[in-house]
Symmetry: D2
């Protein structure tokens, strides 16, 4: 950590800063420049992350030089992690191809969609039983009934299932049914919920928040990891942008950026990132080309009757076509699509 | 609601759209332009908000013309609401002046800060007992012990208290101690938590999420209102921006914008919006001048020893000075600062 | 165009709106809903784009349903355009692979870089002779001397050259030397400059501004096209984002989005989009996978001595490796890399 | 300047960094931490701003500790500057109240608007003769004819005039007519144009670009100052945001932020910042309360017939009301409104 002092910091203030740093158990290393004096703080700066050093008289700016996460960092774990979702591997060259409808609507609907995505090459089935809805008047999902339908459908097609949890009181229930638990973008900094899923033994699909930096995302993963659950898969699904042409701004550069910082697998979700069926295919290919460990796509065979987000779902036949293209790009970048 | 059809929509598709709209219980009104055909949907469009009309073959774009919230809208309640926090009124010309430290640290610290902010004119005391921390390794707050200290200190100084809740399982506990419950920015779309606080009888301070639109904020208020709790105070505290000079981008225009759309009181929080002590005073004045119903400022008398966010806290003497300036600006715009 | 009226618009206002629309040479089509009255404007709405219809008493909101550009639109020109840069084709399945240093520094430097990028498969050489520098104290480029060096080097290696112009008074000079003229991101809405390059016969590389929407970019292309110059190649190079981890936010979804709206070729510039050498390769692959018609990469063999932007340049050997990967991905998506 | 080295930098790389820094004429100060080695660069770091130090092998990150501008900085000029626009002072407690239509349309229109804004207390008249239009098909302004009308109208009412210039070839012409030259937001980084207006003796109104950081804005001011023209007034007019409810995101915190960094006056433009007449008044008050040295408001007496931007113009009577409110707030913060 580096403390840049005020350009007019007094000698007394400088001494005060040094004293304070040492009182905090670190070593201070003073460097007087022509224009600015700086203090290098030697030691594990993570211990100081929440200490308001900028409030020390004479300190103008505090610059962190270490990453604030430990367990999620590549330094702590140089090899890429492989997360095993009931037999389906994600990471280390293995692609997790997650597909299914936004919400679990009925056993019939789920069945026909599962059959289609399985045939197209998906290896994990998704579907929402508890839905985060921006309107209190919108359908909120079928709850446990939905979980049962999803479980049965997955079993019938040999597909592990992933579904979202929003309520810390329901983590146990969801963990009973699901092979993988999803934390949605709006809950990425719901630290209570992160702590609860960290206490389960289930793999977690952690979606990036709409205004989360890459560091924020890795810190949220750290919450889960620090509870003893090592199986976190990150998901880029678009961040807020100024152009409303797409629903969100798909940050594909986050994929290689995260690969440089962390060992955790990262997949992409072009459905939520773009919100436009025509862009989902090209953006899925872009994600795989950039190094993603999987693709999450919403598929629905009756999008105009979907309970939610139908407008961004792919039809099964279009999904199959996209999967054929993904297969070719995956091969070009040396990834296996089983 | 208006449906803009594809420029090459077929007659069959057009008829299909009309049929679908009518099947949904609305009236359809066709308008064929030179370049585009549009369908006006007549009826309460809020019923259709979650229906994926864009997925109907032939529909290019869906344009909502009604606001998606009802209870929060000014149309539903033309007069500005006044929220009563154990005797302190916010809204309708009354300013809620909330001040205190980021976290409740000790009874001694709380006491000296409370005394100072009361003397400066604050009328509600704040302090965090459960803290949302981006790092799992950071101090998480004193929990119930902190609530007790805050309650005692508030009582001693005749100041109602506001504190944050993050866990739906703790809403009841927090409601026992606090006069007003805060929902933090990161939980603005934690719908489970919004529903729980909506079931209490306590006023709620709802902070705007870092990437929430004005409409998103009002929809989150709607969640609380729709549970039967009418006492919601909104809070602008900065949104994500591209310039890291300030911690967030203070959206002061949201104050008059929300006053035009909603009857709910809205206050500003220049501490979190800017993250820089020098900017807090000017931004507080800006908020009041723009019509805010109150100001939330973090105050700490030992900022360099604060458990969190000390770098953005004002010293008590600086707070007192800012309060004197606020008083003058409040008078200039016809607001009462008791 | 659709006019949504105020919810309390009077009958007199409604009639006023109809009269005004008809006075402007359009047909008005009234549709009274339960909650809102809307007026459909029938005719070529582009004529009304700059008419402040929202200022008509009773009008709450104006919604455009047509794209504001004509010549750039896919409707006007359904087949993808192919731009010919002195023999090198961009678009329609042909990839323009542009490479070279940020600035032309010396004939020796240019020579060694040109040789390397040519060997790696680049087909257009870039280099800045006039540089937009955010600091008035920074080196501003070698001007005509630089143009000569670039021209000579290109000729020697059989590579057409592209270079930026910033001053409308220098368009003619630059056009004498260059095969393609670049408009930089900061000048994307310098309409004076767009008009001047539109008057030349040279292909134009139009870079997207840092806060330009897709529509803004196409409108700037329209400026050039409307002057009679049909040869515009668009370039996605990142927009402003809130995460400073990357220099800009690479909007790869803009590639398929623009392909849906326009016939113009679009290439990607992962160097400026990310500002980080490690991310350039993966983001180049992502761009090609998403359908880009080429890739623009900065290459320098002595990056630590570069006059500008050395920190984001690839070394020639790394560039060659990226080009090998691009070739594989290009094949996977059916693109020819000559 | 601080160089943070790679965590695995070799001893040879460390020595190489030290040698390179000294070869650049600076002193290097090595500080070996537990986890990271840092090198403090002692000397005037502005000389190194464009040197790609990050490209030196072993360097992970370069951190600037000095501001990149000199003439614009408060350190260079501790007292606030006062800019004199043909007798009207802006800065140092004096408010520049600029008003007028977006475009100069006709002598009659200009006359009636000038009369009204003068009566309401405006002290500078604005109007566009050359207009930056996003569409090539939109009216581009009346050119010199417009300048004459503006000049005559200003003279008749004793109001200095400000108008925009977009073309470096027209700076001289505009300077003949205008008392103050405006650089629009889209040209804030048109360095050719900045250099030209820097060579005139006319005060410059420099509007902040839509995606310009505070530092970017001050660097653009530096361009003008470095040419010998000390009379620059900055203008906050909103930046790009993710919520389309307002046209731009009004960054009122930029006002006190800039006052801390620079001696230059800064005014606000709530018309362009919000694009909504109802928000202009409250946002003007916010700007003045936050410390702005003036307010720029578009006024039109026939907004629905305006050639451009009529939808965001205030009617003269509404402007007069806003001016009365501004007067009260200005007094409350100790500013003189003559």
């Amino acid at each position: 950590m580096i403390l840049v002092l005020d350009s007019d910091a007094t000698e007394e203030q400088i001494q005060g800063v040094l004293a304070r740093v040492e009182a905090l158990g670190m070593q201070a290393h003073l460097s007087r420049g022509t224009y600015r004096t700086i203090v290098g703080v030697i030691g594990d700066e993570r211990k100081l992350q929440e200490t308001p050093l900028e409030a020390i008289p004479g300190v103008a700016r505090v610059i962190a030089v270490m990453d604030p996460y430990k367990l999620a960092s590549r330094e702590a774990h140089p090899q890429p992690s492989v997360v095993n979702v009931s037999g389906v591997k994600i990471g280390g060259g293995n692609l997790g191809m997650i597909a299914g409808p936004c919400a679990v609507e009925s056993a019939e609907r789920m069945e026909s969609i599962a059959k289609a995505v399985k045939a197209a090459g998906a290896n994990i089935l998704r579907g929402g039983a508890c839905k985060p809805r921006t309107s209190p008047y919108a359908v909120q999902g079928h709850g446990e009934e939905g979980l049962k339908i999803l479980r049965d459908t997955g079993d019938r097609h040999g597909l592990p299932i992933v579904t979202e949890v929003m309520d810390p009181r329901k983590v146990e229930l969801v963990a009973e049914y699901a092979d993988m638990i999803q934390i949605g973008a709006r809950n990425m900094q719901n630290f209570v919920l992160l702590t609860e899923v960290g206490r389960t033994k289930k793999p977690v699909l952690l979606k990036r928040g709409m205004s989360a930096t890459i560091k924020d995302l890795l810190m949220s993963a750290e919450y889960i990891l620090s509870q003893g659950n090592p199986d976190v898969v990150l998901c880029e699904r678009g961040v807020k942008g100024f152009d409303s042409f797409t629903r969100n701004l798909y940050d594909v550069a986050a994929v290689p950026a995260i690969k440089g910082l962390s060992h955790l697998p990262i997949i992409v979700d072009p459905s939520h990132a773009t919100g436009k069926p025509d862009l989902i295919g090209p953006c899925a290919l872009a994600g795989v080309a950039a190094g993603a460990d999987g693709v999450h796509i919403e598929v629905h065979d009756r999008p105009d009757e979907a309970l939610s987000d139908g407008e961004q779902a792919l039809l099964p036949e279009r999904y199959a076509e996209v999967m054929r293209q993904i297969r070719r790009v995956a091969e070009a970048v040396g990834k296996a699509m089983v």
